[in-house]
Amino acid sequence: MKYLVCISKVPDTTAKISFKNEDKEFNSDGVTFIMNPTDEWYALVRALELKEASGGQVTVINVGPKDNEKFLRSAIAIGADDAVLIEANEETESYYIAKNIAKYAQENGYNFVITGKETISFNSFSLGGMIAEFMDLPFINQATQWMLNGEVSTIYKEIEGGEEVLEVTGNCVISAQKGMAEQRLANMKGIMMAKTKPLAIIPIALGEEKVQVSQYQVTPPRGNCKMFTLDQIDELVQALQSEAKVI
């Protein structure tokens, strides 16, 4: 089986977010970037586990600037066999990210495309669904477990108020969340190997713009927190009732 795992680059979870160029561009000064956690911990590690169990190839892919090569190398250090960077500028729309990944997956005969459930940067949950549509494949989103038996995937997924188990026959696209696997750290051998495994760089194909960013802004802080003591609990409940009107 051939697994294609999408790896995106995001600001570290504790990064302070700010913008520049009249609030039209992300200000990356002083920001540390990491692999998107759900891509790294769940999508990548589960693909590696399945490959280790029954053979195949795990390729990691990113659409972004040349510098993103280092995140793909980190993914290889964790265990991926090879990597592909589709070179594009930082703000490429998800429509074209998905279209280019789908094209690569199709032309190179991948069976499964796996993403994290969302990026912690744009929180859009859209890449997997778009890729699946471009490839005309089933898409199971926010999966918590994935077993593979021959051609048949058994996939667990949380639904509102419970859980369901699905069976998908053949190729599909999966977005992964907590439960799918446990984070894996790169070992020394992996880090050494990362430098020597293949990493292809290919150009992106773009078309008409679909969505433009007109502005970014930092979320305004909440007003002051109103404090109550242990003896003022009745007043607190009254405030929730008649001021906030939430209960």
Binding site: N123, T219, L240
Partner: protein, 320 residues
């Protein structure tokens, strides 16, 4: 024309779908167009259809739609969308809505904003906002593509009545049984619990509660006000609570009307999943806990003293 994807429970249109209808109706009116609903499976809710402003409702009830498969649903939605000359398609920002909106955007070469949380600004285009960087920032997007597709966060608009006469159409997609690739083996619903993702009120506990045996006061509180329960990652990782209760950057993201956080420090990754809540109440023994900076109401005190008192006061207030 505006197409809205509707979900139901017990044959009644869900609250989040009614919000999507209200949103869609406003856009339809502004464009002198009609509002068209699409629903998979039988529905027995003509009251809501007429009351909230649907002009037409497509019902798709073929066996191929029995199990949710975003691939087949999208094929059918696209067919209705094109047949009705739509320019807009709106979904709820929930598990199925997110998968369908993304697929439809790809299928129509449209422009997508998943998680829109403002009403669209129609002056000189179509602009909507959504939160990004896990609540730390807000982006305003202009959809320039002809086909405009949104999934809409809950509580973005309040449901409004808009009386209409809704025509019901039973639509046959003609999708062959051999196209079905997704089978459901099992479904387990936790009985009696309020699903976290849809809850208006949430009571959440952190490591400050010291152990799973102390969750009684959290559950009592939830019961009194009709809330769902949640927890921090530290608590889920320690197996004090089930994983589906974990909220935050790497758990679920929620936006209830009220979030009560008890014994949770308010780490930035936790806030990422809850900062879109309308009102936040924090109970923490440490006056310096970072969560107070992100809260509307706070009590500095020992949860083991505060919660019993709070529960008594809530009981009185709710008359239960």
């Amino acid at each position: 024309m505006v197409l809205v994807f509707l979900e139901s429970s017990n044959h009644k249109i869900k609250k989040n779908s009614l919000e999507v209808i209200t949103y869609g109706k406003k856009i339809a009116k502004a464009n002198n167009g009609k509002l068209i609903g699409i629903h998979f499976g039988a529905l027995d809710d003509s009251d809501s259809c007429n009351k909230y402003g649907l002009d037409k409702l497509f019902i798709l009830n073929e066996p191929v739609f029995e199990v949710f498969d975003s691939r087949l649903y999208t094929k059918a939605i696209k067919a209705v969308y094109l047949a009705e000359n739509c320019q807009f398609a709106f979904f709820g920002f929930n598990l199925n809505g997110k998968a369908l909106s993304a697929r439809l955007a790809a299928a129509l070469d449209g422009g997508l904003v998943n998680g829109a949380n403002s009403f669209a600004d129609l002056n000189g285009g179509f602009k909507v906002q959504k939160t990004i960087y896990s609540g730390k920032a807000i982006a305003t997007y202009q959809i320039v593509a002809q086909h405009k597709i949104l999934s809409i966060a809950s509580n973005t608009v309040s449901i409004e009545e808009n009386p209409s006469t809704c025509e019901v159409v039973n639509f046959n997609s003609g999708i062959a049984a051999s196209e079905v690739k997704v089978k459901k083996i099992k479904e387990e619903k936790v009985a009696g619990e309020i699903p976290l993702a849809e809850a208006d009120l949430v009571v959440s506990g952190g490591r400050g509660l010291k152990g799973p045996e102390n969750w009684g006061m959290i559950e009592d509180c939830a019961k009194i006000i009709g809330a769902a329960t949640a927890c921090s990652r530290a608590v889920a990782d320690a197996h004090w609570r089930p994983h589906h209760e974990h909220v935050g950057q790497t758990g679920g993201a929620i936006a209830p009307n009220l979030y009560i956080a008890v014994g949770i420090s308010g780490a930035i990754q936790h806030l990422a999943g809850v900062s879109n809540s309308k009102t936040i109440l924090v109970v923490n023994i440490d006056p310096e806990a970072p969560f107070f900076k992100a809260a509307d109401y706070g009590v500095v005190g020992d949860a083991f003293e505060v919660m019993p008192k709070l529960n008594e006061a809530l009981k009185k207030a709710k008359g239960v």
